[in-house]
Amino acid sequence: MKEIVIISGKGGVGKSALTASLGSLLAEKHRVLLTDTDVDAPNLHLAMGTRLIDFQEIAASDKAFIDYHLCSGCMTCVETCRFAAIIAVAQPVIMPYSCEGCGACALTCPEQAIAVRPVVNGRINIYATSGLSLVTGQLAIGGSSSGRLVDQVKRRARQEAENSRAEIILIDGPPGIGCPVIAALKGADYALLVTEPSATALHDLQRVVEVAGHFRIGMGLVINKADIHEVSRRKIFAFAAKNRMDVLGEIPYDISVPKAIANGQPVVAAYPDAVSSRQINRIAEALLDAVPVMT
């Protein structure tokens, strides 16, 4: 079973749309499980006609709780907290959005009035679409520990993949370079990097490549909207060459893509003859060359 993660650094370069199309194409010849680890704003299920078939609440976040029967109001916890998560009103109040669940306050409370407990911080949704399953994570509003939720999403995805004997787990990754991205990359076999020709996307690509590089996995690049800025496009090629990274393909700007998404379909299904679809077909083949999948 091969695990492929699609990341970009910069948000909005087309990860979800591409994942939907690639998933759709790869599923023609292989058993594929799709996963959406962009838990703050999961969009993959919107890019394909899906129906929800199961969900599971996840408590992957620890928070401190004060037992006000025991609290003496000394405010030691307010001083102890390094994350400014406890505020002094009439009594100390813990702000869950800022609480890291470290337990330092619990350790220093003279009345032992504070306990750290897991709280629900999100859910895992399982969707079905034509011939494919999709495991999605969704962070609760105001929830923390999105990285830990990503861990749980991947764990569930691997279970589902094992049950269905999937050969490929294709993962739509989160934007950025922080904790959720690192969690998405852990244990993956290959990172597919999506970018677009702009100085900002290239800047973010460099940063995410640095993070992905720690994992020492294969990496390949796809340039989306490749024809919007030639100077930046050349810089991307130069960057890829310098980092000995293959460019698996380029997709020109194609209005068919947003049109397909507006209809809840991957472009390769809605407009199979569109120039973007043809390029994505090539990219799917190049991807299978880069990540050999045993059938």
């Binding site: 992957a60 620890d62 720690h214 020492r216």
Partner: protein, 135 residues
Amino acid sequence: MKLCISSSGKDIGARVDTAFGRAPYFLIIDTETMEAEVVENAAAASGHGAGIGAAQIVSDKGAEAVLSGFVGPNAFSALKASDIRIFEGISANDTVQEAVTGFKKGDYREVTAPSTGPGRGGGRGRGGGRGRRGF
């Protein structure tokens, strides 16, 4: 030798678990006498640092070697700090019993460098040596 094997179950007939940090149990086996002790891996559910937590449990039990499928870079550093030898290569299909047999025959490779992974804690150093532009 006191050998620790990451396991999915509590006895020697159970299947192994290839991921060291998140295995639900460890079986500590004396390879001479075949006496086995089972330890629950309380670190398995941790968000962060499951590998190091697992290494602490295993080190505290006096293991001299660990046999698993994959030992991440943080767990690697921890086990090495306790001079515990690390062997990798068990397959998810093996039972603990089969793994011990294989170990005694020399089937598994000893690992002297961490497996792929971020290795952030040990690899980076602790003193904030990353004084670059960071941009």
